[in-house]
Assembly symmetry: C2
Homo-oligomer: 310 residues x 2
Amino acid sequence: MFFEGSEKKVEVVVKAGGRSLRDLGKPFWEVIVAESQATILSTLSNEVCDAYLLSESSLFVWEDRFLMLTCGTTTLVNAITKFLESYGRDNVTMVVFQRKNEYQSHLQKTCVEDDIEALEQFISGTAYRLGHLDAHHNYVYHLNNHFEPDADDFTAELLMYHISGPVADYLRSEGQTAEGIRSRLQLSELLPGFTIDDFVFEPYGYSLNAIKDGYYATFHITPQERSSYVSFETNLDVEHEHAELFDRILAIFQPKSYDVISFDITPALTVPDKVVCISHYEQPLACGYQMTFRHFLEVVTEPAVAERII
Amino acid sequence: MFFEGSEKKVEVVVKAGGRSLRDLGKPFWEVIVAESQATILSTLSNEVCDAYLLSESSLFVWEDRFLMLTCGTTTLVNAITKFLESYGRDNVTMVVFQRKNEYQSHLQKTCVEDDIEALEQFISGTAYRLGHLDAHHNYVYHLNNHFEPDADDFTAELLMYHISGPVADYLRSEGQTAEGIRSRLQLSELLPGFTIDDFVFEPYGYSLNAIKDGYYATFHITPQERSSYVSFETNLDVEHEHAELFDRILAIFQPKSYDVISFDITPALTVPDKVVCISHYEQPLACGYQMTFRHFLEVVTEPAVAERII
């Protein structure tokens, strides 16, 4: 069974003095999420953030900011345009839309050029591709407005492909449970003090939202053998205070290749000898962030056997 | 301007004692080529082979075998089914269809699964993917029939991406000529004794067919800066007698990444220190060939700047 784990993602900051995004309430966000062809499965809240676990990925809502990720063949762009229409395009100050390269882009309902065209009906932006077309790459589109990110406004994404080892085996096994996955992810050590909301999909797949004060972290796992993909994303300081986090996650999933995408931060990484960086892009965005894309992979040591199609 | 250089390819061998494929004549092949949405630009013949240069790639016809390559958004599969219908599906003894991964697969008229389904209406085959879905890869589909290739029945493909250096610069320049390209490719040294037929496309692009007795070689060049692609293919013995050929071609085009695909031969290659092999697949095909896929690329040493989309 093939499932497209790679996400589309949007982060929006609204202007100061406007209506609180949290006060819009769950019914508002249900409508937005439905536009992407996903649904809200559950909600986790603390004093500053509402974290919604979706049928395809996640939505985090703060007073003045939201972050939404959707995977599969969802149409995140429709959720964004619906938000801009409902909340008012003039009331936003920062929009960053990202689309990761898909395993099977021809199965998607729109291509990134279609998405950009749809966004340009509402706002005026700039778009880039980081990474070569014929390898892992990431598209980014941002609103043409100079936003001043706070000094601790970081985003770091770790996207892992072709996971291996005992945790990967467990994630592909029957009878897996949320408890079993949580213990294998060593969650209490990875994300100490975080409140957790998670979901195990049938027959495979796992999503997790975690929040602690204004911090968030989210895992989305598509373990299927030949197209496995795990994404992790956080606004924790994975360069200094949590410099060990990405290495720990890599040790758990043992991916054969991985991408590190970051905004205003350089995640700490220990790159083993057998791993090479085959793509590295740095791009200042006029909306205020410095975006970095790096693609790493293990060099092969022996021939693989082909994947039989029919 | 974006142009999809990556080819679809078919090689067919017909049963002994059947009608000569060359005797079918140009009008027959014009119909077959039209089914793929290409046209014949010119013809080059010697005592054993007719080499047709197409508006999108090439067709080589021998007495009992033909090889057709088409690029762009052509529908090679329709040409194959038309051939099977016209010549008789029971009169073929070997069919190998390949489809390379595209830069922009969503722009293609069919996906490889559609192509396989179309072929399965006429013949029964087996299909594999060599290489991971999220990196360079090649699909192969073959007729389920045990064919015995001759001892010198080799095929070697060198597919080069992100070409650089003076020849790449010339290929992207205005006012280029066939003579200018031929001299930069050092054709008389690369392919001594071969007869040449070539074509310079507007505004860029170059195709070349070369034949010498039963040997063929073909170049197809899509030089566009951000999606450059050059394919070379031959049935020369690039493992022994012409062991220097692939290294010479790599030195001319200086690609940042390249794939080597081969059937019953292991092309000789000198891999520089800065280049790593990141994918290596070997697959025996029940139709009689051993297929090998290797994907090489240069490790990056400094960050690149993103590609601006809008």
